[in-house]
């Protein structure tokens, strides 16, 4: 039985547990139909030209975890941003862990998708927002059909959340191979501010495939700062679908740090539905071994007077593969747009590959759109400069890699997180940079 068939039959089993009168039921049914029709994307799909899921789909994944396992705090403590106080939503093998989490209902809601789906109180919010921004591509539809658990964050108007919110997904390796589908809904009310850190972490070397969908709605003048840390073990793969719907005068920033995992695919989609939106998409990718990371971004400029800024840096060693597929669409009525996209890559070893496809589709005339893409290597002269001052080859290269990635790092707004990422980078590059980060 192929994995697709297995999912389709699991859905029939899932249906028995669902409330039939729920409006979500139709949404689920439609979604599974889309998935059944389209199936998993293949290399023949233009959007998946450079990334194949074939090798991943051969594995027989468990769709549900049979045993529950508790995780001790000391085992996972290092994955938390424990230097500062944060709200925490922790999921273990897709199941919420109340023991490790720190949620709230005090003025703002930081709680569970499962609760939001079942409690009457949340019904209006779910009806207004759930699956409203997500596109109906097959993987997103698959997640929609199986929506069960995930983070539910609702920030009311004019609320500035006093501390960051962490969303952590752990997989324990209870099953030989696990398929996880977290579904997050984040609604940020008018003039509200929030900072969110998301992380997927496998605690064993058993195979994990995560197909995550996050919908973020930014109401008027909202400010959303989102950080994705992808530093998983080499048996874990992640397909991350993020959909951001912006209303007027909003600022949404997403930083993606991809250092780990076997195959990571980031589908990051922005929809600017109001004037004066500011969208920022930044990322650092540092890969080794046979890792494969694919950044697929879309910024859809629907309204006039908006801005978007993209800056992705990539360093590829060994036989790793990097893909950057950035698309900017400017609609006919979206005049006075300032859209900027930059993608810089360095290939460190002979077997590394980079495939870049920066795309512009522009239908409005009064716009400023530009994209730049470079692929190169270390500047020999700069290396020589460093080495002539007594810095070893390895350290010199490390310094240069660090400097290369730094433009993205500079815009991280949580100081403790910046330190953490600095450490991750130093660790990934494999050199101690010799100065306090």
């Amino acid at each position: 039985m192929s994995f697709k068939d297995k999912l389709l039959s699991s859905y029939i089993a899932l249906e028995d547990y669902l409330e039939f009168d729920s409006p979500l039921h139709d949404v689920r049914n439609n979604a599974i139909k889309i998935f059944e029709e389209k199936g998993f994307p293949t290399k023949k799909d233009e959007e998946w030209k450079y990334t194949s899921l074939n090798s991943l789909l051969k594995t027989d994944y468990s769709v549900y975890s049979n045993k529950e396992r508790n995780v001790e705090l000391q085992d996972v403590r290092k994955y938390f941003l424990n230097e500062i106080d944060t709200y925490k939503l922790v999921f273990i093998d897709g199941v919420y862990s109340s023991f490790l989490s720190e949620t709230t209902h005090d003025t703002l809601d930081v709680c569970l998708m499962s609760a939001a789906l079942n409690k009457k109180k949340y019904k209006p919010v779910i009806e207004a927002y759930f699956n409203k921004a997500a596109k109906s591509d097959s993987l997103t539809a698959l997640n929609t059909a199986f929506t069960k658990e995930g983070a539910y964050i609702h920030i009311p108007a004019h609320k500035e959340v006093e501390k960051p919110i962490e969303i952590l997904n752990f997989s324990t390796g209870n099953e030989a191979a696990m398929f996880l589908q977290p579904r997050n809904l984040i609604v940020v009310g008018e003039n509200a501010h929030v900072q969110i850190i998301e992380r997927h972490q496998s605690l064993s070397t058993n195979e994990v495939l995560t197909n995550s969908v996050t919908e973020i709605f930014a109401e008027k003048r909202a400010y959303v700062d989102y950080y994705k840390i992808q530093n998983d073990v080499e048996s874990a793969s992640l397909i991350d679908n993020t959909y951001i719907s912006q209303q007027r005068d909003t600022v949404c920033r997403v930083h993606t740090f991809s250092f780990g995992g076997k195959l990571v695919r980031n589908n990051l989609n922005y929809f600017q539905n109001g004037e004066n939106c500011d969208s920022t998409l930044k990322g650092i990718t540092i890969l080794k071994g046979k890792q494969h990371v694919d950044h697929n971004t879309l910024v859809h400029h629907i309204s006039p007077n908006c801005e978007s800024h993209q800056d992705y840096k990539g360093l590829f060693a060994d036989s790793s593969v990097g893909v950057f597929n950035g698309k900017i669409i400017v609609e006919k009525d979206a005049q006075k747009i300032d859209a900027y996209q930059q993608n810089d890559n360095i290939l460190i070893d002979d077997n590394a590959t980079i495939n870049a496809k920066p795309q512009l589709e522009i239908f409005a005339d009064d716009v400023k759109c530009s994209h730049g893409c470079t692929i190169g290597q270390f500047d020999e002269e700069a290396l020589f400069y460093l080495r002539s001052r007594g810095i070893g080859m390895k350290e010199a290269r490390g310094l240069m890699m660090y400097a290369f990635a730094n433009t993205v790092l500079e815009s991280v707004k949580i100081p403790e997180l910046k330190v953490r990422i600095n450490k991750l980078i130093a660790n990934k590059i494999g050199v101690s940079l010799g100065f306090e980060l």
Partner: protein
């Protein structure tokens, strides 16, 4: 006499498509439809040897199994391949030694195009191989070229007289089964140009062909083969205009360039086929496969000015096979009204120290869609490969679109690739500046557009550069709102 705004208006109305006229020459046209017999008949008509007939049939069989590509960013009504006549040749068959013998009506056509053969012969020093409805009518300067050992003739003549060269190179750069239109072309090509430059020879003049689509309902399937032997140089010009027609005309040409060790080929095109009327009715479908291969130290340079055709689908490419070879692509694509263009290039770096430059300028006005689609591919062995790409788009009005689809694939760590693209409109301050100095808006735009495309226009041979600038102006007339 004072030139008033009304005069300008009148001029614009009548100036819509300057070259929209139709020469009535009795043509020898095949009935519509395509099957193996038609392919055989074309081959027979051209008095081709057996191997060529077989080659065509093989291509036809590949073509049958292929489907029309749909990935391009263009939308059009698919041509009915059984409703096209695949062969048409002007009736006045025998070859002429001098221009005086040529059908006066035909000569008149060229005069109206502003290209007087006599003048060109004398002043510009251009040998013109005129292709009118697929058959070569006149070949000039043959003697001068023959002295140098240069072969410049129609491809059918080449098949007859130089079969060893044609056999060796035809289909090596664009294989029969390369794509749908290349396969179709390989099966039914009616004529085209052949050019061979011997070792170490520098071609003393710009070689040039003038293509025209003339007979109603006949698809034009040109086949061009240019071979530059070791250390030779040639500059080749191709220019086209076509008469106004209501029904869509299909043009599926194949151009193959072969630059052997140390050779250099410069291939320039000005394309101004009928783009359809203001409502997007009619116009030429231009589906062209152009590709060149560079051996060691060789260089191929493509320059194109695309202003015509309702739908353009064209990617002049370079395979940089030999070490130290160089590929260049300079393009201006202008679309107006309902025109659609999906054009760009492919630079395939295989050899070491290979270099490529891509400069693409897209201008869209009216309700047109203009896309740049390009590929830069660095193979693992292409050490120190270098690419620079620049794609700029200019938008006029908010009903048109400009799109960029660059594909960049690198598998070599020493490769250095840069790509940049911008999209903008003509600044109001720029126009104001010109207005202030007494230059009207229409002229100002022509001026700015010419400046925008200067990097590409500069690469054109002198005779073409002037014509191309005029074309840009004509194509954009009336597009300013």
């Amino acid at each position: 006499m004072k030139y008033t705004e009304d005069d300008l208006k009148k001029e614009l109305e009548t100036k819509e498509y300057e070259y929209g006229f139709y020469t009535d020459i009795e043509s020898d046209t095949f009935p519509v439809g395509l099957n193996e017999d038609v392919v055989r008949a074309i081959s027979k008509k051209k008095e081709e040897p057996e191997w060529m007939t077989e080659w065509r049939l093989e291509s036809y069989r590949y073509w049958l199994k292929m489907v029309e590509p749909e990935w391009a960013n263009v939308h059009y009504e698919k041509p009915d391949f059984q409703a096209i006549s695949y062969y048409s040749a002007p009736n006045s068959k025998p070859k002429y030694d001098s221009l005086d013998e040529v059908d006066p009506e035909l000569l008149d056509t060229f005069k109206r195009l502003g290209i007087s053969l006599d003048e060109q012969k004398k002043l510009a020093g251009v040998a013109v191989d005129i292709v009118m409805d697929s058959v070569s009518v006149a070949t000039t300067f043959k003697k001068t070229l023959a002295e140098k050992g240069i072969i410049f003739c129609s491809i059918s003549e080449a098949i007859k007289n130089h079969p060893e060269l044609v056999k060796k190179y035809l289909g090596t750069v664009v294989p029969q089964r390369d794509n749908f239109y290349a396969a179709l072309n390989s099966a039914v090509f009616s004529d085209g140009s052949f050019c061979y430059i011997p070792k170490g020879v520098r071609c003393p003049m710009e070689l040039s062909t003038y293509f025209r689509i003339n007979q109603a309902g006949t698809g034009q399937f040109e086949r061009t083969l240019v071979i530059a032997d070791e250390d030779s140089y040639v500059s080749y010009l191709e220019g086209c205009t076509a008469p106004s027609r209501d029904e869509n005309q299909l043009h599926a040409a194949v151009v193959e360039l072969i630059a052997l060790d140390g050779a250099e080929i410069k291939y320039s095109t000005v394309q101004n086929w009928y783009p359809g009327d203001k409502e997007g009715k009619g116009g030429v479908y231009n589906f062209v496969t152009k590709r060149g291969i560079c051996e060691k130290n060789a260089k191929i340079s493509w320059t194109q000015v695309e202003t015509g055709s309702a739908v353009t689908w064209k990617y002049p490419s370079c395979i940089l096979k030999g070490d130290n070879s160089i590929g260049e692509f300079y393009s201006i694509a202008v679309t107006n009204d309902y025109q659609q263009a999906d054009t760009g290039t492919k630079m395939i770096h295989i050899g070491k120290n290979t270099k490529s430059t891509i400069i693409s300028k897209g201008i869209s006005a009216g309700r047109s869609q203009n896309s740049y689609r390009g590929l830069v591919k660095i193979h693992p062995n292409a050490d120190n490969a270098r690419n620079f790409s620049q794609c700029d788009s200019l938008l006029m009005g908010n009903s048109c679109g400009a799109h960029t689809f660059p594909y960049i694939e690198s598998k070599n760590k020493s490769a250095q690739i840069e790509h940049e693209a911008t999209t903008s409109k003509i600044g109001e301050d720029q126009i104001f500046y010109c207005n202030q100095r007494g230059i009207d808006t229409e002229k100002a735009i022509a001026l700015i557009v010419n400046g925008f495309g200067k990097e590409v226009l500069n690469k054109l041979p002198m005779e073409f550069a002037v014509e191309a600038q005029k074309l840009l102006e004509i194509s954009l007339e009336g597009s300013v709102g």
